[in-house]
Every structure is written in structure tokens, then in C-alpha cells.
């Protein structure tokens, strides 16, 4: 558990009267007030076995942890908006109920006032507090961002040695976090360039099969905000490294020049196993991710 510093502006908004903070002048000081907890457990196990002529080592270790905002200096308009008692890496947003079918659908739905006049093909959100208006007060906890690491991390390594040949593999698994498909690739509005996701956009003809809201050259403030429409499970297993090594030391035994010699072939980031593999292997606007293949010689003199 940690005490977290709450700044004077938050104190004015939550504990003291609002007038403590007049923008350019503020009464009160920063206070150690909030409490957060992060707890969990680690485990590790290694198995060694000799199967005939093959030495096998299998190692497994993992971390599972939970986070919680035990005490949070906050004031919210609805009970369910309070962050206190929830995870620290919560993703908060709207729950969607599909696309607006037509004007009648819009008319019979709560007023969506996120700064854009909605049209058919826009996302329809759930009115959590039943006040007939969709605004920031209708955001709920949708999932965990895993920004401080996924809730469950798994590491696996495997070594098999047969005579002079060694196979090594390392895998890393991350489970339990959620992601939001955001950024300029998925959230296209204004004068943004199109990515291929907009091919499945909503039009009156494709209303039943569309997987993307209607296109707009205007504000992104309605569709392109955090909602469960854009969420995905960020579970993944990565094959981080595979290496095959052949020991050539015996061939040079007689030389005083060299004591040990190995040749190897290795590969890094070879495989990602995930429902969202394509997304995870994609970088937008930066250098692409790489997959390494190495061929090497290791010599000791």
C-alpha cells in the first residue's frame, strides 16, 4: 500500500470548497491522502529430466497481481463513477448498443450530447443513469488497461540437449488486460487519411453488416471515444526466442588457441499467439516491429 500525494487543486475540488482554487491562486497544500494497493504472488518451478540421451529442462514462472484504489480523493456525479474500490488501471467508457439505424431510432433513444449531432450510423450508447442524456456521467468501468503490466504474466523456458545439439525456447504470456483500438488508424475523422478498417463502415446499404461507424469529416467526439465498441482482449503469448546450438568444442580440442566453439541459429519474436495478432504486430506511424534471425559463432579463447 502506498500513500499517494493529492494536489491542492484536487483537494479544492473534492474536500475543500471549490473556491479554494481560483485558477491562478489556490489555498491549501498538497496532501498525502490517497491509498493504493498492489498485491499478488509470484511462482516459479523448474523441471529437469533425462529422457534417454536427452536432457530436458522446463521452467515456468509467473506473476499474478491485483490493484485497487483503496482511498481516492474524488467527487463524482453518480455512484458508479467512483474510482475508489476499483482497479488502478481501469478503462472507463461507454457501453455501446450498436449503430443508430435511422432518425426514428435516434428520436427514440436518449439524447446523445457528446458534442456532435448524431446521425444514423453513429454509435448508440447506454444511458447508465437513466436521465435521458448521454454524457460523461454514463461512463462505466469496461476493463483493465494493464498499463503497469498485465494482471497475469507467464514466462516459460524450455531446453533440450541431445549430445552436442541444444534447443532453447523462451515464451512469454500476458493475460487479463484489455486494449482499446484507438489512434489515427482506427479513429478516423476530420481530414484524417483512411486506413483499411473504414472499408466496413456503416452506410444505409451496409447497415446490417457494418463493423465501423459512418464516416465523417467532422468532429470525432462522438464515435471515437473510449467505448466497449473499440475494446479487445489483449491476451497474448509470444515466442520470444528460439535457439539451436551445436557444440564444436571437441573438434578443436587439440588446439591451444581456442578452448570452446559453438555455432548457433536463433530467432527472436518469431510468433505471437493472440486473437488480435495483426493489431499487436502493427506499428502505426513509427518503425515497424522486427523479427530477428541470427546465425552466430561463439568462441572462447
Amino acid at each position: 500500500m502506498t500513500d499517494i500525494l493529492v494536489n491542492a487543486a484536487t483537494m479544492a475540488a473534492v474536500v475543500n470548497p471549490n473556491w479554494f482554487n481560483a485558477g491562478n491562486s489556490i489555498f491549501g497544500a498538497n496532501v498525502n491522502r490517497d491509498i493504493e494497493s498492489r498485491s499478488g504472488f509470484d511462482f516459479g518451478a523448474t523441471f529437469k529430466k533425462k529422457l534417454n540421451e536427452v536432457n530436458v529442462i522446463l521452467g515456468l514462472n509467473g506473476t499474478y497481481y491485483v490493484t485497487k484504489a483503496i482511498k481516492r480523493t474524488e467527487i463524482q456525479n453518480e455512484d458508479y463513477l467512483y474510482r475508489q474500490g476499483h482497479v488502478l488501471d481501469g478503462i472507463w467508457g461507454y457501453e455501446n448498443a450498436g449503430f443508430f439505424k435511422d432518425q426514428d431510432d435516434i428520436k427514440n433513444s436518449p439524447v446523445h450530447s457528446l458534442g456532435v449531432t448524431v446521425k444514423p450510423g453513429d454509435l448508440k450508447y447506454k444511458d447508465q443513469n437513466g436521465d435521458g442524456i448521454i454524457n460523461v456521467n454514463d461512463q462505466v468501468l469496461l476493463g483493465r488497461g494493464g498499463w503497469y503490466g498485465a494482471p497475469f504474466n507467464l514466462g516459460m523456458h524450455f531446453t533440450a540437449q541431445w549430445r552436442k545439439l541444444t534447443l532453447f525456447a523462451l515464451g512469454v504470456g500476458r493475460y487479463g488486460a484489455d486494449g482499446v483500438k484507438s489512434g489515427s488508424y482506427f479513429w478516423v475523422g476530420g481530414e484524417d487519411k483512411y486506413s483499411k478498417v473504414v472499408r466496413d463502415r456503416w452506410t444505409t446499404e451496409t447497415a446490417d453488416i457494418a463493423t465501423y461507424p459512418r464516416l465523417t469529416t467532422q468532429s470525432k467526439a462522438h464515435n471515437f471515444v473510449t467505448s466497449d465498441f473499440w475494446m479487445y482482449k489483449a491476451n497474448r503469448f509470444d515466442l520470444a526466442k528460439v535457439q539451436v546450438t551445436y557444440d564444436l568444442s571437441s573438434a578443436i580440442r587439440k588446439s591451444n588457441f581456442m578452448r570452446e566453439l559453438n555455432v548457433y541459429v536463433s530467432g527472436a519474436n518469431l510468433l505471437t499467439v493472440s486473437k488480435e495478432r495483426e493489431l499487436m504486430e502493427m506499428n502505426v506511424g513509427g518503425t515497424p516491429q522486427t523479427r530477428f534471425y541470427n546465425f552466430g559463432v561463439r568462441a572462447l579463447f
Partner: protein
């Protein structure tokens, strides 16, 4: 062995560092704090005076609040305008366009003022103890006066009938509140707030000079200061301090502005201030300028609407006011913001504030009769001729001119330029543009701006005159004077004479209503509407009078020379919206606060 020693040394160092508290205790901030004893030295007097400077910078109404666009006087062509949005049903405890900032700023200033009052006796304001005492007296007076200014504004904004049926004011904080204080205190009653404001104003009047300024050789120091040398007086209350510091005169004006609201129908049931009190408070100021005879001739276009008045403003010495202005904010040199906002498109403006047909219809005919009266000679097919001269002073009607330009502005729906009705986003929505507040010399071209000195009054004498007329009529009738040398009738006559109406016929209409209190009330309210339009007065007047808030804003569409009257914008106010809501963010925190009725 050496290794062992080294390890031991490191261990001791680490252990020692761990024990030192200054790793965990924050260092004292490296800037001047008010509780630093050095801050009380004469050399730091300016720093300590800054506490109250923090209040001066927050005085409300030093800039324009264009709340008239949420009344029947005007609309805005800016659909993001917050006043416009409250006319369309968006007003709520979560959205108080003119309230939330003033709530936070007002109480923030009061907190500084209270701190000043607690420190004022400790500070050595000057090396000479006599001078220090004079400064102490002045600063105490300023603090009391300023506290009244802010509580008066808070009361005007947030006071009213609460959901428990009581007439409530605002929470009263009269001492510096540290962050651990109990803030969950209920709103004081309207009457308690009033009495606190009056008490602070009395303290201010007692302590402060009536006006700042040097006493010349041979003059005498006012008796209330006791035996003080003239030069000492001048050092503390002299010319150097002219320019907006709280004075006895300002304290009187604040009192007059507060008491007339308290006496009004919306609040009178919950307090002891009467129309008679309000009339006396206003008359106390007017007596000083000889009553109606002192009504400033330049008081109509005081904002520089004529070049003569503009010259007068340009020639002002620091801290001196034109005769119309009782209290003003610092002037703004080279200002052009108001004109940029409100000039019509062809003059490179954004046409923001559009006066309504409702307001235009409220201007009487030149002979003083309302246009609804057959005696007015009003001609619907030539509506702007033969009217009260103030109409064309304050409102740019079709064919009128603005500033130094001689080009007639065509606001007709079939007009050839973008000045026509609804031609583009910055065109008028009503067929009228704002002319009041527009400086006679500000001009724009596509590339240049010629700004001018602007003044912003916080209190004008005309407002005090109209306060008197209204309160005196209610208290003593149109012709009663309550012991003063003038009646409501006298004041209204002077105001109408200055406007230039009813000159030829001896203001026959006024003579007609002068024996009828109800008719006179209507006339006074109408004169007030005209004289004080676009000055953040009407919005509050409608509420304190409990008048109809929902009268829709109308405009005129001129096509082919024919006048068609159009509905421009509704006024979706509910009956309880005579008060502001208390900000929701405070309501959530402090359950002792009771919300105003209906919100």
C-alpha cells in the same frame, strides 16, 4: 581489512542518511509566506498589501457580462454563447455561465480579505508609526468595503427563496479558513447577509475618506481622522491613491445597489430592507451632486459614443472619472474588442449582439408617448422616424451608420451586403446591430485595427438615479420625496429631458402618469430598460421584479421596404428561474447547503 572498513563506512552513511528527517520533511518553500515574521517589516508592506490586491483583481463587473442576450433585449448570433444556451433550457446547477466563476472568485477574494483583516494590525505599514496607523486604518476600511462588494455580488447571484421556503443568502465566512476548517455550514438567511453587508459598508465609510485626493494648503483634514497633519493625510489618502481604491463614495453606491434588490418583490418577503431604505440610500449619493440637476449631460453616450465624449475620456487624468461615472475599472487603451465583436460584417465585425424588436418597440416616440399610444403618431411603415433619439444612439437600425463611417448599413433581408438579415453566420438575426457601447472612433480595415481608450463603469450615476426613481415611487408615490429635494417624477423628467423626448409638449405623457403609481412604475421600469440596456442589468431586473421571463425575442425582416416581424428565439425559462442555482459541485460536498427552490 580495508574492504571491511569501507563496508562499515558505507553502512553508517546509509543508516545516517536514513535517520535524517529532511529526506521526508519537505523543505520550506523558497518564496515569501504571509506568516513569515519578516513579511511584517515596513519594507514588505507592498507584499502584504497584495493580499487585498488579490481581492481588487476579482471585483465583478470590471469586464462586460452580456447577459442581455438572455433577455428580451437581445439575442446573440454566436450559438456557443453561454447566455444563449441558458435561454434554451440548459441552465442547471451544473451549468451556470455567469455564476460559477463568480462563486469561486468571490469567496476566494473574501478569503484574502479576511486574511488581510487578521494580519492588518501586525504589519508595520510604514516606518513612521503615525503613517503606519493611517495606512492601517485605510486598509481595514478597504477590506471591509471590498468584503461587502463581494458578498453583495454573491447575494445578488445566489440569494433567493430556497427549497425549504426560506429566503436564504449565501454562507458567510468572516474569518480566514484553513483547509481543515468545517466548510459544511448552512447558508445564512438573506437578512443576515444583508446586515453583514451593511455593517461592513458602515465600517468602510467610517474608516475611509469619501474620495481620495490631496488636501491643498489651507484645507482641513476631515474631522473623522482626528488630529492628523495635512501632509501625512496626503501621503496615505492623497492623489497617489486615486484610481479605484474603495472609498466612502463607493461604499454608498454598493449600499444603494444592494438595498434596491433587497426591497424588490422577489426578495422583500425575507428581509427588513424597504423601498424607503433603498430610496434614502440612493438619495444619499444624489444629494452630493445636487439631485436631478447633477445628471451628467454626457451620461447617455458615456462610452465614447460621440467624439466629444471620446476626447473627454482620452483627456482623463489617472484615477479621475467623467461626471457620469461613479466607479470604474482601469481604462483599456487601444481597445477594440467590443467593436470587433459587434460591428456588422461590412465593418469587419462579428455582429454578435443583436438588439430585438422588443427593445426597439420599448423606445417611445419623440413626443414621449409609448408607440402603442395613439398620441405617439407612430407610423408602422416608417418605424424609425420620429422616435426617441436614444433608439438610434443605442441600436443600429436599417439605414443607420456607425462609428466614423458614413455608409448606411443595410440590415434588410433583401439587402445587398452581408449585413442583411441572416446572410451569413456573423449577420444579424433580428435586423438590428448593437450601437451602444461602440466607440465613435474605432475602425477596422481588412488589415488594420484602430483601437481607442475604453472605460468600463462599475457604477454609473444614471443607475443610481433610476434606483431612486423606482424606490421613491414605490415608497412615496410619483411625487413624494421622503424629505429629499426631488421626487421620482423629477428624476424621470430629467432623464427624459436629457434623452430629448417630450421637449416640445412639456413631456405630456409623463404629466399624464405622474399621479398614478402603477403607470409610473411601468414608465420607470421602461426608462431603466432603455438607459441601462446591454449593461448586465435587465437580466437581473426581470428576476427581482418577478416579471415574465419567457417573452420570446423578436426581430424584423425587411423585404421590398415592408416590415415583417419574426420570432427569433424563445426564452425557455421556468418560473423558478428567478434565482441562480447553487453550484452542484458544492452541493455534492456540503449537505448543509440548501438548494434554491426548483433547481
Amino acid at each position: 581489512m580495508n574492504k571491511v572498513l569501507l563496508m562499515a563506512a558505507i553502512t553508517i552513511l546509509l543508516f545516517g542518511a536514513g535517520c535524517k528527517r529532511d529526506l521526508f520533511e519537505p523543505a520550506i518553500e523558497n518564496n515569501r509566506q504571509v506568516d513569515d515574521p519578516n513579511a511584517l517589516m515596513p519594507s514588505q508592506a507592498r507584499f502584504m498589501y497584495g493580499l487585498i490586491g488579490n481581492a481588487y483583481t476579482r471585483i465583478p463587473n470590471t469586464g462586460w457580462y452580456h447577459s442581455d442576450v438572455a433577455t428580451d433585449n437581445a439575442v446573440s448570433n454566436d450559438f456557443n454563447n453561454e447566455y444563449l444556451r441558458i435561454t434554451q433550457g440548459l441552465w442547471s446547477p451544473l451549468f451556470i455561465p455567469f455564476g460559477f466563476n463568480r462563486w469561486t472568485n468571490g469567496y476566494h477574494a473574501i478569503q484574502y480579505i479576511n486574511q488581510m483583516l487578521e494580519k492588518v494590525n501586525e504589519v508595520q505599514w510604514a516606518v513612521d508609526p503615525n503613517i503606519a496607523e493611517l495606512f492601517r486604518r485605510r486598509i481595514r476600511g478597504e477590506a471591509y468595503g471590498l468584503r461587502a462588494v463581494f458578498y453583495s455580488d454573491l447575494l445578488r447571484l445566489f440569494g433567493g427563496e430556497a427549497s425549504n421556503g426560506q429566503m436564504l443568502g449565501v454562507p458567510l465566512f468572516l474569518s480566514f479558513q484553513d483547509p481543515l476548517a468545517n466548510f459544511n455550514i448552512p447558508r445564512s438567511t438573506y437578512e443576515e447577509c444583508l446586515q453583514q453587508i451593511y455593517k461592513d459598508l458602515d465600517s468602510a465609510s467610517l474608516l475611509l475618506p469619501f474620495d481620495y485626493g490631496d488636501i491643498n494648503e489651507g484645507g482641513t483634514v476631515p474631522a473623522k481622522f482626528g488630529n492628523v497633519a495635512r501632509t501625512d493625510y496626503n501621503r496615505v489618502y492623497g492623489n497617489n491613491f486615486r484610481g479605484g481604491l474603495l472609498s466612502g463614495r463607493i461604499a454608498m453606491a454598493v449600499k444603494a445597489k444592494t438595498s434596491i434588490i433587497a426591497a424588490s418583490p422577489a426578495f422583500s418577503s425575507g428581509n427588513t430592507t424597504t423601498w424607503e431604505n433603498a430610496a434614502h440610500d440612493a438619495a444619499a449619493i444624489l444629494d452630493l451632486i445636487n439631485g436631478p440637476a447633477g445628471l451628467a449631460a454626457t451620461g447617455l453616450e458615456w462610452y465614447g459614443g460621440t467624439t466629444a465624449i471620446a476626447d473627454q475620456i482620452n483627456g482623463l487624468s489617472v484615477g479621475v472619472n467623467p461626471p457620469e461615472v461613479l466607479w470604474r475599472a482601469s481604462w483599456e487603451d487601444n481597445g477594440s474588442g467590443l467593436e470587433r465583436d459587434n460591428y456588422p460584417p461590412t465593418m469587419f465585425g462579428n455582429g454578435r449582439i443583436n438588439p430585438t424588436q422588443n427593445l426597439v418597440d420599448a423606445f417611445p416616440a419623440l413626443n414621449g408617448y409609448p408607440i402603442s399610444d395613439a398620441a405617439s403618431g407612430y407610423n408602422p411603415s416608417d418605424p424609425y422616424t420620429g422616435r426617441d433619439p436614444r433608439l438610434k444612439m443605442f441600436v443600429l437600425v436599417n439605414g443607420g451608420t456607425l462609428s466614423s463611417s458614413t455608409t448606411a448599413i443595410n440590415t434588410a433581408a433583401d439587402g445587398p451586403t452581408n449585413d442583411g438579415l441572416l446572410k451569413q453566420a456573423t449577420s444579424t438575426r433580428t435586423g438590428y446591430y448593437l450601437k451602444k457601447l461602440m466607440h465613435s472612433r474605432v475602425t477596422f480595415t481588412s488589415t488594420t485595427t484602430s483601437g481607442q481608450r475604453h472605460i468600463k463603469p462599475i457604477v454609473r450615476y444614471t443607475e443610481i438615479f433610476l434606483n431612486y426613481a423606482e424606490a421613491a415611487n414605490e415608497a412615496w408615490g410619483p411625487l413624494g420625496n421622503g424629505g429629499h429635494a426631488y421626487s421620482a417624477y423629477d428624476v424621470i423628467k430629467a432623464i427624459r429631458r436629457r434623452a430629448g423626448i417630450g421637449i416640445a409638449n412639456g413631456d405630456a405623457y409623463l404629466e399624464l402618469v405622474k399621479n398614478n403609481k402603477e403607470e409610473m412604475r411601468k414608465l420607470i421600469r421602461n426608462e431603466r430598460r432603455l438607459e441601462l440596456c446591454f449593461e448586465d442589468i435587465r437580466f437581473w431586473d426581470l428576476r427581482r421584479w418577478k416579471e415574465n421571463l419567457t417573452e420570446g425575442a423578436k426581430g424584423v425582416s425587411i423585404t421590398g421596404g415592408a416590415y415583417n416581424y419574426i420570432n427569433v428565439e424563445s426564452r425557455d425559462f421556468q418560473s423558478f428561474m428567478t434565482t441562480n442555482p447553487i453550484p452542484n459541485s458544492e452541493m455534492l460536498k456540503f449537505n448543509a447547503l440548501i438548494q434554491n427552490k426548483g433547481w
